[in-house]
Amino acid sequence: MISFVRRNQVLLSAFLSILLSLYIIAPATKGQMRADPIGPLLIALMRPFQTGIQMTVGGIKDVYFNYAALRGLGVENEKLKARIRRLETEQNRLLEDEATNKRLRELMEFHAELPPGSVTASVTANSASTWFHSLLIDKGKSSGVEKGMAVVSHLGVVGQVVSVTGKNAKVLLVTDSHSGVDAIVQRSRARGIVAGSLENGPIMKYVKRSDDLQEGDRLVTSGVDGVFPKGLLVGSVSKVNKKSIGLFQHVEVALAVDPARLEEVLVLKGGAAKATE
């Protein structure tokens, strides 16, 4: 027996790890989640490195783009070139400060329109997998962030908090195929669920064939899902296809928020109260 186990230890441990994985997944079939003791440690371990890389990349990008934009100004000699570089560096810093100020000002103005108690957070990491669209933010339980809270930016809906540790939270983006936001068409009040899809990007599901929808229609949150306040911009209708058969229309959506460009977000503590329109 012992020799059998020793001979096949890799095979047996692989089977054990598969069983353990299924044991971890099992509660999800009932919509629950098993306690995760290791996740917060992993996040805490990676966070400084992720933040460092994000900051470095952000700095390099700013320097590159601003330098590229300004280098055609026609500098004639080395002295002037050196001076311009110094000025560019200074300008980069100022531009970055200005851009940050603008973003934060927009976020603050938007903040005032939302239910009280929202938390501003920065994005520290993105999803580690093609199959899931999520991001990690730098605010967690210690800042009052809880699972299920809505996450938005001044441009519109971003996603929903799916797990929280002390100082971080994982946000499932609207672009993920597992997410869903109850939305209405601002013009016709037709209702549906905006969700991610692996086929043609985000779609609006369960829109009745009889509902009036046109390309370019603005979609806003309905507030009935109990997560997002009513009236937040989700995106706009980019394509409508009324199939010859079936109960529903096929509606493709262009989201208002590009998750790839997100740097700061707001986590809404107040639940689905109505946003000021």
Binding site: F15, I25, M33, N126, A128, S177, S197
Partner: protein, 170 residues
């Protein structure tokens, strides 16, 4: 220096890259699955109980940073390791370039297991043809990255082993 430490460090760096720098590549929603490449390498070249735990932890890390359901990638990575381990009895990869087709197939195992769990247990929709496209592009990206990672891992492994051998002879 222990070989397992090397793999832990490499795993850490790969997951770190996946969550940060890999998103800068102009690939849209696709992120090259570097952790999968390491998992295949472990299954083929370093099949130990520690490597099984390592593969499980790689999946766990990906779950922590991405998946709304904990355990999905643990299962996928464990299956990938098992497939690579079982196939290591039949295939022997001499050149890092040959790792590309193996990783390509392993990525399909991962994609297939993710889609199977979604469909069978979690009753989630939105897969279908889109799922196949994701699986294909994911596999292609992982296969492209595989030779370079395999080469680096092999060099790292030989370095650690030669250090260990020289210390033992001394």
């Amino acid at each position: 220096m222990k070989l397992s430490l090397l793999f832990v460090a490499v795993g850490f760096v790969l997951v770190l890259l996946q969550t940060t720098l890999m998103h800068l590549l102009p690939l849209g929603p696709f992120v090259p699955d570097l952790a999968l490449v390491l998992c295949v390498y472990l299954g083929l070249n370093h099949p130990t109980v520690g490597a099984v735990v390592g593969s499980f932890m790689l999946g766990y890390s990906v779950d922590v940073f991405s998946s709304p359901v904990l355990g999905l990638n643990c299962l996928a990575m464990s299956l990938v390791f098992l497939t690579a381990y079982l196939s290591s009895r039949c295939i022997w990869i001499n050149s890092p370039l040959l790792s590309a087709p193996v990783v390509f197939l392993a990525s399909w195992v991962k994609g297939g297991s993710l889609m199977a769990v979604w469909t069978l247990f979690l009753a989630m929709d939105g897969l279908g043809a889109g799922g196949l496209k994701y699986a294909f592009v994911d596999a292609l990206l992982a296969a492209i990255m595989a030779p370079a990672i395999f080469m680096l891992l092999r060099r790292g492994q030989s370095y650690v082993e030669s250090k260990k051998a020289s210390m033992e002879t001394a």
